[in-house]
Amino acid sequence: MAHDPSHEHHANVDHAAMGIEKEHPTWSTYWKVATILTLITVVEVWIYYIPSIVASRAFVPSLLIMSAVKFFTVVAFYMHLRYDHKLFRVLFTAPLIIAMTTIVALLFLFGKLSARTGALG
């Protein structure tokens, strides 16, 4: 598509109130992000069915990394956290850090993680 209206400044959108600091991505960027998310999901499911990968020590870390990439891609591009006011970043990342720390602490506490192996039990 030669002309992409989403690339233009939206005069009637209240950028300040919405906390838009940088112009939001274009439609083509959204489609590319969707393609990347789909491809990562395909790889996740694909390695689930390969016994040699499932048996290897890299299986769980690779799934967690791919999941984290998908998570932060959606947050950055679809939720526009990369483009919006930093207060929104603080409001999201602070509880997220508390939440993830809580999960890890509880897994250690209940013996599902060990400092020696670092693997999910």
């Binding site: 598509m1 002309h3 209206p5 989403s6 233009e8 939206h10 005069a11 009637n12 959108v13 209240d14 300040a16 109130a17 919405m18 906390g19 939001h24 439609w27 959204y30 489609w31 992000v33 969707a34 998310l37 789909t38 999901t41 996740e44 499911v45 689930y48 499932v54 299986f59 769980v60 799934l63 967690l64 791919m66 999941s67 998908k70 998570f71 959606v74 947050v75 591009f77 679809y78 939720m79 006011h85 207060l87 929104f88 409001l91 999201f92 602070a94 509880p95 997220l96 508390i98 939440a99 993830m100 809580t102 999960i103 509880l106 897994l107 209940f110 599902k112 999910l120 039990g121």
Partner: protein, 227 residues
Amino acid sequence: MTHAAAAHSAHDDTHGHPPTSTGLDNKKIAIWAFIGSECMLFASLISTYLIYKGRSVVGPYPHEACLPPGCSTPLKAILNIPVTSASTFVLLMSSLAMVLALAAVETKDQPKTTTGEKILGSSKLWLWMTAILGTTFLGFQAFEFTSFVHEGLTIRTNLFGSSFFTLTGFHGAHVTAGVLWLLTLLAIDYRRGLGPKDAINVDLAALYWHFVDVVWIAIFTLVYLIK
């Protein structure tokens, strides 16, 4: 009217809300704070699931077949990865539709000449698409829950059943709330049309919807794929 009141009134006329001390719309700050609190809610549910994982005394189990004497009758691994992969794809695509709906609302007043621009600029189309994809995801979840019950797994069967149904049930309830929110936006769109001045309200729904999507990204990996 005082000078300040006049200024406020003028600002109201321009953007439909009074100025705030941060300069940001309070509704958007509130939805981010709400999403932050939801992170902690789902963290507690996910950690409960992970702690109880592998500690069920009786089957069915998520990834392992259950044979006698653990189970009175042989049971296969209960999680259906192909079906859940399809529902994950559906939810990811619903996020794409949602962000396109927001972009369509933001650019509603810009001229669209080509068919492609008209399609991309139709907020009704993308809101419908998001709602339908969300409902499809709920259909997959209903199918999964029903098949689990038929295979002998209920919320009362074992620790896996209790933590699994609680976690995924809470997520499904959030998706249901999201679909209802989308339907209200659609009703407004049909009644008076959504335009750039409504972008903030569509943005709030979009943020909630994407959050529901990222929670599922975590659930899909932690519950379904990690054995």
